[in-house]
Each structure stands twice: as structure tokens, then as C-alpha cells.
């Protein structure tokens, strides 16, 4: 798992028992509920979840725009929760960029350093350095209203990076860009994080963005963090139904625990077969459980084998690079198998024919709930 796996690195940000309540009385909304999270130095950490899950609230608490109702936020061990935003060595890239419209590109980038009282020579040098970093040298003296959305995005990044913050916060910075530009900026962001070595905390509701860019992801829902892990952990071994559902396509199957051995459990599925499924840390599955299987971790068979789940092929959806086979299992539930398209393969399948679904080794994971 590379960088994400090494747990010895210092923690840059720690949230300890953080809650945030907006409003009071009957209107009170608990945006964050007793959240604990540790974000390591130099990490690309993503807060992922649907709108209203509390991810932006957590970011705003770290930035200092809001103050926690309960709990502590530590920056390299020091509690920064009571500090105003202008006293925190943390900078933000805003969702709408929030560039100052009355200033040029260079003035925007230099603003933070100017406020820190740096000498003019140093500011100018740093502006040039930043413009080079985001590849915008030729637009130095443009007004921010005269440049495109993608360029504004780069200026916003340069402005936030210029004062060399200890942590960079990014609040859905790519959501306003079109698809192609978003793809380019994802790579660009990874490059910037690599070159600057700054801890990035990235907020998004886009699961694909989170998977491609992050060292670690925290999946959030309703003010709670449900699971923290590497993209592979989150995708392959979702601990909860919400996580499995929110990230990628998923098949859910019901079954009974037959036996538990270490981090594996043997499950007798209601659909007939028996599979070995992974167990999330700290879980102790018993009795009736739900397992998840990703569509690409199963295979479809025209002639079902002995271990296969039996069913009828209901629909074939062709996606160009791959094909989705919608199978109605004999036991009732629907199951989707995704198979990469190879030349000539898949042509033997017709809707309505009986098929088998084979679940691969290590493909299944037992849910906590």
C-alpha cells in the first residue's frame, strides 16, 4: 500500500472527539458527531461523502471558519481550535476559488505573504515560483475575471500554496470544472502534492476522484466517519453497507456464518454456494450476515460449475470497455457481473439463458451491519 501503509509518520492534524452543532433548540443540527481522525504528515487525505455528511464542516473547523462545539483539533500536537483562521498555518482552496476580483493573478498569489509581512523581494520571487509551479507564468498581470475556470483553479492553488502552509485544505476544488479539465487537474494536484510535500486534505463527493487521488480516504455519513482506509481497503473491503453502496457498484448477498478463522469467515449463502469472506477489523460476525461482492470480482459462466450461484441472465449492458451482465439468481436477488470486453468474448451469452455466477477468491467481504 506504499506510503499510506506506513503508520510511523507524524500526525499533522488530529481531530479528537469533535462535534459541531449549528443552531439551537429545535432547529439544532448536529453536523459532526464525536469525530476522531488522525491525518498524517505529507498525506493526501480525502473526506468523502454525500452532501450534508459533515465533510465540509470538518474542513471549516480545521481552517478556523467555524469553531467546534466539543472536542479538540490539533495541528502537530498543538490545540488550534480556539485560534482564528489568520493565525493558523493552514490554507484553503475554496470550491468557487474565491479569488479577489479586484486584484491581478500575481496580487492574489502574493496576498497571504503580504499579510504575513514578508519583504517585497521575497514575495515577488515566491509569486514567480508559484506561477511556474502551476504553469501560469504568462498570466501574471491578468485580472482574475479575464482567465478561464481551469486557470482560476490554478491561481487558487498557487495562492493557497504560496505561504507554505503546513496543511492545505481543498473544498471540492474540481467540482466546477468540466470532465476533461477535471481529469487533468486530478493529475496536477497529485503532482503538486508530491512536489511540495504538503499535507493535503481534500473534500469531495466524487468517489472516483477520491479513489484515484488519495493515500487514505475517510468515508463520512450523517456527521460520522464510517471507515478510514486506503482506496483499496475502502473499495475491496467496505465495512458497512453505506460505504459499499456509496463507492462503486455492489452486490449484496445474505448468508449464514459457518465458521470464523482469523480474519476470514466461511459463509453459507442463501443462494446456495459457500464462500470465504473477509472480516473487518474488530467485527465478530455471527448468524445471519450480509456480504458484498464487487461486480468485477465475479465471473459469469455459460455452463455453471458446482460452486456457482445459479440464475437467469436478464440483461446485457454493453459499455465499450466492459459489459454488465444482470443476473436474477434462483434464490431471488439480482446480481451484476462486470466483465472486461476481449475481442470475441461474451458473444455466447443471450438474455433469458440460464447462467452461473462464480465469486472469486478473496472477493467477498462481510459487512458489520
Amino acid at each position: 500500500m506504499g506510503r499510506a501503509g506506513s503508520g510511523e509518520r507524524r500526525s499533522a492534524i488530529e481531530a479528537i472527539g469533535v462535534s459541531k452543532v449549528f443552531g439551537n433548540g429545535d432547529d439544532a443540527v448536529r453536523a459532526l458527531d464525536n469525530v476522531d481522525v488522525t491525518i498524517r504528515e505529507n498525506e493526501f487525505f480525502t473526506l468523502l461523502g454525500p452532501s450534508g455528511c459533515g465533510k465540509t464542516t470538518l474542513l471549516r473547523l480545521i481552517a478556523g471558519f467555524d469553531f467546534p462545539t466539543e472536542g479538540e483539533i490539533r495541528l502537530y500536537g498543538e490545540d488550534i481550535a480556539p485560534l482564528p483562521p489568520f493565525k493558523r498555518p493552514v490554507n484553503t482552496v475554496f470550491q468557487n476559488y474565491a479569488l479577489f476580483p479586484h486584484m491581478t493573478v500575481a496580487q492574489n498569489i502574493g496576498f497571504g505573504l503580504e499579510m504575513l509581512g514578508k519583504p517585497k523581494v521575497e514575495i515577488d520571487a515566491r509569486i514567480s515560483e508559484m506561477l511556474k509551479l502551476v504553469r501560469m507564468e504568462e498570466l501574471r498581470n491578468r485580472r482574475t475575471s479575464q482567465i478561464s475556470g481551469g486557470q482560476q483553479q490554478r491561481v487558487a492553488l498557487a495562492r493557497a500554496l504560496a505561504p507554505r502552509p503546513k496543511v492545505l485544505l481543498l473544498d471540492e476544488p474540481l467540482s466546477a470544472l468540466d470532465f476533461k479539465l477535471r481529469k487533468d487537474m486530478q493529475i496536477e494536484l497529485k503532482r503538486l502534492q508530491h512536489e511540495t510535500g504538503i499535507t493535503f486534505i481534500f473534500v469531495t463527493h466524487d468517489q472516483e476522484e477520491a479513489l484515484t487521488m488519495s493515500d487514505r480516504i475517510a468515508v463520512m455519513s450523517k456527521g460520522h466517519i464510517l471507515q478510514i482506509g486506503s482506496p483499496r481497503d475502502i473499495y475491496d473491503r467496505p465495512a458497512e453497507r453505506f460505504v459499499a453502496n456509496f463507492i462503486g457498484d455492489t452486490n449484496f448477498l445474505e448468508g449464514q456464518v459457518k465458521e470464523v478463522r482469523g480474519s476470514k469467515a466461511r459463509i453459507t449463502l442463501d443462494a446456495g454456494a459457500e464462500v470465504e469472506a473477509g472480516i473487518s477489523e474488530g467485527a465478530n460476525p455471527q448468524g445471519n450476515v450480509t456480504i458484498v461482492v464487487r461486480p468485477e470480482h465475479a465471473a459469469i459462466q455459460a455452463r455453471p460449475g458446482a460452486d456457482a450461484l445459479k440464475g437467469t441472465l436478464e440483461n446485457i449492458v454493453y459499455f465499450g470497455t466492459d459489459t454488465h451482465f444482470h443476473v436474477k439468481l434462483a434464490s431471488g436477488p439480482h446480481f451484476i457481473v462486470r466483465q472486461q470486453n476481449r475481442h470475441g468474448a461474451g458473444e455466447e451469452f443471450k438474455t433469458g439463458m440460464p447462467v452461473g455466477v462464480e465469486i472469486g477468491q478473496n472477493a467477498a467481504q462481510v459487512l458489520k451491519d
Partner: protein
């Protein structure tokens, strides 16, 4: 003949006719406004300009005999005994007082109006209307009555002095009535809403995420105000200042009631010439002078505001 017209040309003709019709319609719709501008603004202004070059009649009005006397009298006066020419000190001091009081009224209105507008624009959307309503309530009352209300507060036997004396802070009343301070207080009270409303209008449009961005980039409250908020609400500051400065300069009722006979402003001087003074041409010349001052002040202001805009950009 119809065969001679290619279809495209015919279409172009139809389009041109439609354009002509459209232009006629626009003139028609604009005609009420044009009528008022011409007959209620430009027309009377022209008459005032003409009158300023005529000779005063004995009992008011004008005699149709061209004369530059009125314009001479704006700045100079001839001694009736020895015919020496001196500056018209009375006119100049009134002119100076008008500009000075209007300037400070505008400045103080800005100092009070800015935080007020900021306060209103940061309220929840529902309560903003209530605040704006409260700000505009004084407009519902007659100007004269509002001015007398101010007098009731500041006169020697008024609320302000009575309270201070009862509390033992002062032993004799502070003379505020019939001073420049009284005029300024009155004008401030009357024109403050004209400052608050345009300021509110531009602050309401202010993207408060820019304020957050300022805080995020190590600007403290004062720096955010100076470097982010003020440059962005500048149009409101300019509009509000103009709306307070211009009516202050021409104020008539307020200096008349609160300033008494001694502390005249330009408006009172002009009224005097058309009334007791029976010198309509001088009144007309003073009116044009007032207009010129307003125009020059506006030009200086707009130009300096425009320059700083470029510097920021």
C-alpha cells in the same frame, strides 16, 4: 415587378421595416421620460441660466436688459459710498461653510452608515427587510417635522441638555442650536439613509467567501476590511457619498431651522435673493454656481475613485 425582387432582398426589406417600427416603438415608450427631462429639468435650468444674465426688477422678477452684474456680485461687491470693489465676504463664507459642512456630513454619514450597512447585510435574509424598513422610516415623515424633532433634542431646554443637567454632568446648557454642529447633526440625521441604502446594496452582493479567503490568508479583521471589503463595496461608498453630499450642499430647511439666520448655507442664500433680496439674477447665478460646484466635486470624486480602481487591479 415582384419577379425583380430576389427573396433575400425582400426578407431584408421586411427586417429593415421591422427595425424602423422597433425604433419608433422605443421612442414612443421613452417619451414620458423625455418629456419630463426636457420640460421639468432642462427647460427651467435654461431659464435660470438666462435670468442670471438679466437685470433685477425693483419688486422681484427681471427686466429684459442683458447684464453681467449678477455674476459680478457672486464674488465681488462695490462699496456704496466710495465705489471700491472688494470680495463679497458674506458669499464666500457661506460658500465655504456649505462645502465644509457637506463634506463632514458625508464623512460622518459614511462612518456611521458603513457599519450599519455591514450589520444589516450580515443578518439572516428574513430579518434584513425589517432592518431596512427601520432605516427608511424617517423618510415617511415630513422633512420639516423631522428637523423640528432634532431641534427638540438639542435646544437649550431640550432633552439632551435637560438630561445632562439633571445628571449633574453640566451646570449650564451646551449651546448647540444655531451652530454649524446643529446643522451637521440635522443633515446627518436626514441623509443617513441615503448613505446606508446604496452601501447595503453593494454589501449585499459581496461574496462573503472572499472575506473568509482573506482571513484564511492571514489578514486580520482590519486588513480584511481595508484590502477586501472596502475595495469591493467601493461603488456603494461612491454612490452613498454622492447622494449625501449633493443634497447637503443645497440644503435649505435644515440650516434654516437649526442654523438660524446667521449660519446660512447656499440654499438659504439663494432663497434670500429670490425673496427679500429681490435680486433674481443673483439668485440664478448662485444656483448655477452651486450646480457647478456639485459637478466639479463629482468629477474629482469619480476620477479619483477610478484611478484607485486601476491601482488595485
Amino acid at each position: 415587378m415582384h419577379q425583380d425582387n430576389p427573396p433575400l432582398t425582400r426578407a431584408a426589406q421586411v427586417a429593415a421595416a421591422a427595425d424602423r417600427q422597433e425604433i419608433r416603438n422605443r421612442w414612443f415608450l421613452a417619451s414620458p421620460a423625455l418629456f419630463i427631462i426636457f420640460f421639468a429639468a432642462i427647460g427651467p435650468l435654461f431659464i435660470v441660466l438666462v435670468f442670471s444674465f438679466l437685470t433685477p426688477a425693483d419688486y422681484g422678477g427681471v427686466v429684459w436688459k442683458p447684464s453681467g452684474q449678477a455674476w459680478f456680485q457672486v464674488l465681488f461687491e462695490k462699496d456704496i459710498f466710495d465705489d471700491t470693489t472688494t470680495f463679497a465676504d458674506a458669499h464666500l463664507s457661506i460658500l465655504w461653510r456649505s462645502v465644509k459642512l457637506s463634506f463632514f456630513t458625508t464623512l460622518i454619514a459614511l462612518a456611521f452608515g458603513f457599519p450599519t450597512a455591514y450589520f444589516i447585510s450580515t443578518r439572516p435574509e428574513k430579518s434584513r427587510d425589517i432592518w431596512l424598513f427601520l432605516i427608511t422610516i424617517p423618510f415617511w415623515t415630513n422633512l420639516l417635522i423631522r428637523t423640528f424633532a432634532v431641534q427638540e433634542v438639542i435646544r437649550n431646554e431640550g432633552i439632551f441638555n435637560t438630561v445632562l443637567m439633571k445628571l449633574g454632568i453640566i451646570s449650564s446648557p451646551i449651546q448647540i442650536m444655531f451652530t454649524d454642529v446643529a446643522i451637521m447633526l440635522g443633515m446627518l440625521y436626514v441623509y443617513l439613509p441615503l448613505m446606508v441604502l446604496p452601501l447595503y446594496a453593494s454589501m449585499e452582493k459581496l461574496d462573503f467567501r472572499l472575506v473568509e479567503a482573506g482571513y484564511d490568508l492571514y489578514a486580520n479583521r482590519f486588513q480584511v476590511l481595508r484590502r477586501v471589503i472596502i475595495p469591493l463595496v467601493k461603488p456603494g461608498i461612491i454612490a452613498g457619498s454622492i447622494l449625501v453630499f449633493i443634497p447637503s450642499l443645497g440644503a435649505y430647511v435644515t440650516p434654516r431651522v437649526l442654523g438660524g439666520g446667521k449660519n446660512m448655507m447656499l440654499g438659504n442664500l439663494i432663497e434670500l435673493q429670490f425673496g427679500q433680496g429681490r435680486n433674481w439674477p443673483l439668485g440664478a447665478a448662485l444656483s448655477i454656481t452651486l450646480m457647478a460646484i456639485v459637478m466639479i466635486a463629482l468629477m474629482i470624486y469619480v476620477r479619483s475613485a477610478g484611478r484607485s480602481e486601476v491601482r488595485h487591479g
